[in-house]
Symmetry: C2
Subunit: 213 residues, 2 copies
C-alpha cells in the first residue's frame, strides 16, 4: 500500500478551497520551538505544510524519545500516538502548520462535494496506513527476544525497500528505544548476529546475509 498524502489528487487551488471550508488557520514555528505540549488532548487536525516536525515523548527519567518524524503534508492529532504519556510536538526545522477543528471534516458541504469526498478518501487511507504501521510495530514488540525483534524489524525495512542493504532511519540509540530494549544488550546481539554471519553491520548500515522468503 503506497503512502497517501493528505492532498493526494487535490490541486493547489482546491487545497485553498478546502482549508477555507474547514476554517483552517496557519501558524509558523521556528526551529526548536514547541508546537504543542499535550498532543493527546487536542481537538485539532493538523497538517505539516513545510519543515520537519518531531513527536516527542519525555520519559519519567527525563530522557526524550522521538516517536515519529513528520514532513510536508503529514498529519498529526490526538489519533497520532500513544496516549498515556505526555507527547510534545516540536519543530525540528522552521515549520508551517495548518490546523482546524477535527469535527469540521465531518460537516456537510453543499459546494465542493467531490473535493470533500477526495479529502475524506485521503483521510481514511492515511489512517489505515498509520494503523498498518502501528500494527507492524506491535508485531515487532511482541517478539520475545532481542534477536527476533531485530530480525523482524530488519524484515520490515527489507520489505519496504526490497533490498538486503538497509539503513536504519535513526540512530542506534533511538532504534533501541523504538524496539523498547536496552541499548547495550542490543549492541551485544548485533555483535552476535555479525559473529554468526547473519548480517554485516557498520553503524546504521546493515546488510542482510540470510535467506528471506
Amino acid at each position: 500500500m503506497a503512502k497517501t498524502s493528505i492532498f493526494n489528487e487535490i490541486s493547489f487551488n482546491d487545497q485553498i478551497k478546502l482549508l477555507n471550508d474547514f476554517k483552517a488557520r496557519s501558524s509558523t514555528f521556528s526551529k526548536g520551538v514547541t508546537i504543542m505540549s499535550n498532543l493527546r488532548t487536542t481537538r485539532d487536525f493538523n497538517i505539516v505544510k513545510s519543515g520537519i516536525v518531531n513527536i516527542i515523548r519525555f520519559n519519567y527519567n527525563g530522557t526524550r524519545t522521538i516517536i515519529e518524524t513528520l514532513e510536508e503534508d503529514d498529519v498529526f492529532g490526538n489519533f497520532s500516538s500513544a496516549t498515556s504519556e505526555e507527547l510534545y510536538v516540536i519543530a525540528d526545522t522552521d515549520a508551517e502548520i495548518i490546523s482546524f477543528n477535527y469535527d469540521n471534516i465531518f460537516q456537510r458541504y453543499s459546494k465542493n462535494i467531490d473535493l470533500h469526498y477526495q479529502f475524506n478518501e485521503n483521510v481514511v487511507k492515511i489512517l489505515a496506513n498509520k494503523l498498518q504501521s502501528t500494527n507492524d510495530r506491535i508485531q515487532i514488540l511482541t517478539e520475545k527476544t532481542i534477536r527476533n525483534k531485530l530480525l523482524n524489524y530488519f524484515n520490515t525495512l527489507y520489505k519496504r525497500n526490497l533490498s538486503k542493504n538497509i539503513t536504519i532511519p535513526f540512530s542506534l540509540t533511538n532504534l533501541a528505544d523504538y524496539l523498547s530494549i536496552d541499548r547495550s544488550a542490543m549492541m551485544r546481539e548485533l555483535k552476535n548476529l555479525k559473529d554468526e554471519g547473519l548480517i554485516n553491520q557498520k553503524g546504521k548500515k546493515i546488510q542482510l546475509l540470510y535467506y528471506i522468503n
Copy 2:
C-alpha cells in the same frame, strides 16, 4: 472517545441503500468455521452483522492466539491487525458477515450523499478509535518489566471503567499472550503484587489497592 459503530446515525432503511450502493454481499457462517484464512491480503471491507467472530493468529509452534474479538457492527479488513503473520477470521458463534470491495467506499455517489458522508464519518472515527487502542497496546508493550506491563494494563482498564475493581476480559493465558510475556512469569509477578499489597486478585477479578492519579 466513545466507540462509534459503523452504522451510527444510519437508519435500517438507509443501511440497505448504502450496502446496495457498495454492492455488498452477505454470507452466513456456522460456529467454528473459518471465514477468512488470509486476512492481510483481502481487498474487502467486512462488517459483522450478527454473531461473534475472532481474529486469530497461529504461532509457529502451533498455538493459537486471539488477536481481537468482534461483535455486531464491528469491522475487519486488511487494516485490522498485524501484518507479517497469517491471520485467520473464525466464527465463534454462528455469524453473518457483510462484505464489499474496499474501494467502493470511495466512489462518488450522486444519490444518498448525506448518507455516504455519515458512513465516511463513521469509518474515520472507527479507524481513529482502532488507532488509539493499538497505541494503548504499544504503550503497554514498550514497558520493560512484566510488573510495569501489568500495571499499565490495569490502568487502561481502570480508565475505561473508572473503577478499581476490574475484570480481565479474557483468560489469564490470553492476557499473558496479549502482554507478550511468559504466563508462568506473569503469575509469579501477580503473586508478588499481591504479596506487596498492591492488588487483590482471584482469577480474572482484580482489585487495585494503590493510588492512581
